[in-house]
């Protein structure tokens, strides 16, 4: 069914990618895309006194895959923290920190987000991940396969054979329907699985392969830029969660300083959930904020982008990552009550899950809370920093309105600083920061910015030809004084109306129907001769190390029923 044409009248439109900053204009929609003219019988939607913005783009949320499922298994009590019985149009909603896929899709839509990226998929578990994503309604989605501990990558990097690596990346994206390169604790998960240890810097050597995290990062970054994938490498750096890891993070970013970005963009590296990788170390070897160092580096290096991974305190949540050693460290730190699952995916990566509640009266957690906000305030360019909570690692994504209220209002921050542990006042610079985000900056951080960083041409803006994903929030920026009414921001950042591909999904703040989203994927091999040369080695590699055969590795097209193929542009 073709969506009807409509015209959204009288709204205060924010479209940072096209330079529209809170002007009263009309948005016209026809056949699921934004157009400049509609027939005279188009349906009128009254949005006067409301913010009209492009649909949100979530670039880092763990919403599907075996690890999310294992998280649900670990948290049976999570299912009664939030539940809504089924209605005529909706299935039952269940779950809070690690909800069902259906709930995730519906809640994201109600927040005004229409694109959700799953950032860590073990390539071998692609089938399960896509099955779950298929159950997540409304959102357009894509996945990042994990590369940082793949043995074949190690082989290529060791031989410094970038052409083979490029062919392998293109092959992997095609076979597992991936979108971008995720690197999780490069070499660390391998060391955890085979040596029960971890890497402590970017120059630690993996014994069997004789490679270092630095080589892996450089190899993958170079291959990525030459291959022209839509997104840069998406990096979860080494030493996550350890005191003083900001130096390792800076080393990680410096590794790829001299790599030339693809002509279509300025960035070469995306540092994900920076908060967990931004711990400084004071003279007593205790935690302090490393936000100033990191923000200074990001400000002076346009090739770096980052997302927050903001921690929400006093909310039960669950950490899940492909970084096995980090999860073991968290499990040990939390004591006997902490549940823990460790996983290993043959020849590719590992993973771990630990349920956690960050406590406001715990100095470590309080500083973690401060670091996220602090870095976001210190980074000057909103186009290169994205608001996330690393759902559900830092906290459920349903707390974005609260994160935004902290960024927009010093009053809200000060109120929070009073309730959390007092170490925030001496160990971070959050109390001294006066900056308050404007609506435009917030909408860059949640929509235009991530869409641009992810290379999504038809998302994150309301220009002609963009997908008709529109979120309408019941706030009049002229009437609500953001700085003094943080509670208002928090309440009203749940969308009043959401339109996806020209169809109403949410009306009056309630979901009325659900739709199936499309899947962004890459379906293109690298140059023929390089591809054949790589396949010869890869088939041998499969014979040697994998428990499944080469021919069973590819996931069928039926797993992504509404594909949106994105082409790659290799530099010749």
């Amino acid at each position: 069914m073709m969506a009807e044409s409509m015209i959204i009248k009288g709204g205060i439109v924010y479209d940072p990618l096209n330079g529209v900053k809170g002007e009263k204009t009309d948005i016209m929609i026809k056949d699921g895309v934004i157009v400049s003219e509609v027939p005279s019988d188009a349906k009128e939607v009254d949005a006067s006194g409301k913010i009209v913005a492009p649909g949100g783009v979530e670039m880092h949320a763990h919403v599907a895959g075996p690890k999310v499922n294992a998280g649900r298994t670990l948290l049976p009590g999570d299912f009664r923290r939030y539940y809504v019985p089924k209605t005529d149009s909706l299935r039952a909603l269940v779950g809070y920190a690690v909800p069902t896929n259906y709930t995730t899709g519906v809640k994201y839509t109600e927040l005004g987000f229409t694109t959700v990226f799953e950032p860590a998929m073990a390539p071998l578990d692609a089938r399960h991940t896509f099955e779950e994503l298929e159950d997540m309604p409304n959102a357009d989605k894509a996945v990042f396969p994990v590369f940082g501990n793949n043995w074949f990558v190690f082989d290529c990097v060791k031989d410094n054979d970038i052409e083979k690596l490029k062919a392998f990346i293109a092959w992997m994206m095609t076979e597992t329907k991936g979108y971008g390169i995720k690197i999780v604790n490069p070499c660390g998960a391998y060391m955890w699985a085979h040596h029960h240890s971890n890497v402590t810097s970017v120059d630690d050597v993996v014994p069997e392969y004789d490679v270092t995290p630095r080589q892996v990062l450089r190899g993958l970054a170079q291959a990525n830029e030459e291959l022209g994938l839509p997104h840069t490498i998406h990096v979860h750096a080494n030493m996550l969660g350890r005191v003083g890891n900001v130096s390792t993070t800076l080393d990680t970013l410096k590794c790829v300083e001299d790599i030339k970005p693809h002509p279509s963009r300025e960035q070469v590296i995306h540092l994900t959930h920076l908060q967990f990788n931004c711990f400084g170390e004071d003279e007593n070897h205790r935690i302090c904020s490393g936000a100033e160092d990191l923000a200074e580096y990001i400000n002076s290096h346009p090739q770096v982008s980052a997302d927050l991974g903001q921690v929400i305190v006093d909310v039960p949540t669950c950490t899940m990552t492909s970084d096995g050693p980090a999860e073991f460290f968290i499990h040990k730190a939390l004591g006997p009550k902490a549940k823990w699952i460790n996983g290993d995916v043959e020849a590719e990566c590992g993973g771990g899950i630990v349920p956690i509640t960050y406590r406001s009266n715990n100095p470590f957690n309080a500083i973690q809370w401060a670091i996220g906000i602090e870095t976001c305030l210190l980074v000057k360019d909103p186009w290169r920093v994205v608001i996330t909570t690393d759902h559900p690692n830092g906290g459920p994504a349903w707390y974005y309105p609260r994160v935004i209220s902290w960024l927009m209002s010093k009053k809200a921050r000060d109120k929070m600083i009073e309730t959390v542990h007092k170490s925030v006042q001496d160990k971070t610079s959050l109390v001294n920061l006066e900056r308050e985000y404007t609506w435009e900056e917030i909408l860059i951080c949640t929509r235009a910015g991530p869409a641009k960083l992810l290379g999504l041409k038809s998302k994150g803006h309301l220009g002609e030809g963009a997908h008709a994903d529109v979120a309408i929030y019941p706030i009049d920026p002229e009437k609500v004084d953001m700085a003094n009414q943080p509670e208002e921001i928090e309440k009203k950042l749940w969308a009043d109306m959401v339109i996806k591909d020209g169809k109403f999904l949410v009306k009056n703040g309630k979901t009325i129907t659900t739709e199936r989203g499309r899947t962004y994927l890459i379906n293109q091999y690298y140059k023929d001769e390089e591809h054949k040369r790589m396949l010869k080695d890869l088939k041998e590699h499969f014979q040697k190390w994998y428990s499944i055969t080469f021919n069973n590795y590819r996931i069928q097209d039926v797993f992504a029923p509404r594909p949106q193929t994105v082409s790659i542009n290799p530099i010749s």
Binding site: L74, L75, P76, G77, P336, K337, K339
Partner: protein
């Protein structure tokens, strides 16, 4: 004190009456009282379909007493989330009585099912008969049980009583089943009769008193004797042997057993 009574007149395989608490009923008019919804299986029905409704609720939960008469074991979730007032249950009752309650008093004349006072925070539950398993414990898979309040059972209790308990007081006048106070973190459990096997397994802090017979786990170490003990201003004559444990969890819990 204002009183509302619900007399069971029609049976059903399963009824869930978490709405029949002083909190939900206070300020209700006579009309509203009749149309209060309860769950029968997976259908929501008015309470008057299954209960004879009488009386008038008070203006606040604290001034309201709710009486469930002729109660049967297929009635579940009585007094869930209750924060004040009195709930009297005449007859036996099903599972989840006083689950996650934050105040008030629940009195049950007969026996009760499983998960009584599950994750309760404050208030008091008195059971004149026997209680089932998981009394004052955590929800399955969760790690925080009862954090405050009191539960008194005059009969026996089933297994896993006080599992993951983090505060409050459980008193059992009869015998307790197996796995008493498993993974207990804080709080006091007093059993006047015997306790089953694996008493206090995985306990880290907190206190368990057993006046009858109990088999001590090998991971507990003897740690002195006491002539008498003072539990909430009540003196219990000894002599008591104190065991510290559970050693398997590096725990520092106290298990007192009458010699």
């Amino acid at each position: 004190m204002y009183q509302v009574s619900f007399k069971l007149k029609k049976e059903a395989p399963r009824l869930e009456i978490d709405t029949l608490t002083p909190d939900c009923l206070c300020l209700c008019s006579a009309e509203e009282l009749k149309s209060v919804k309860i769950w029968r299986g997976k259908k929501e029905v008015p309470a008057s379909e299954h209960f004879e409704v009488k009386g008038e609720p008070g203006p606040t939960p604290e001034e309201t007493m709710v009486v469930i008469e002729n109660c049967k074991p297929f009635v579940h979730y009585a007094g869930m989330f209750m924060s004040g007032g009195i709930l009297k249950i005449k007859g036996s009752c099903g599972n989840y009585i006083g689950s996650r309650m934050t105040g008030g008093l629940i009195e049950v004349e007969g026996n009760v099912g499983d998960m009584v006072g599950e994750e309760m925070k404050a208030g008091k539950i008195v059971v004149k008969g026997n209680a089932g398993n998981y009394l004052g414990s955590a929800w399955w898979g969760d790690t925080t049980g009862m954090t405050g309040g009191q539960i008194v059972v005059e009969g026996n209790v089933g297994e896993m009583c006080g599992q993951w308990m983090e505060g409050g007081y459980i008193r059992v006048k009869g015998n307790a089943g197996d796995f008493l106070g498993v993974k207990q973190v804080r709080g006091i459990i007093l059993v006047e009769g015997d306790a089953g096997y694996c008493c206090g397994a995985g306990m880290t802090y907190g206190r368990i008193l057993v006046l009858g017979n109990v088999e001590i786990l090998p991971t507990y170490e003897p740690d002195g004797t006491y002539e008498q003990l003072d539990i909430l201003d009540e003196i219990f004559k000894g002599p008591f042997q104190l065991y510290k444990g559970d050693g398997a969890e590096d725990g520092k819990g106290d298990l007192y057993v009458r010699k």
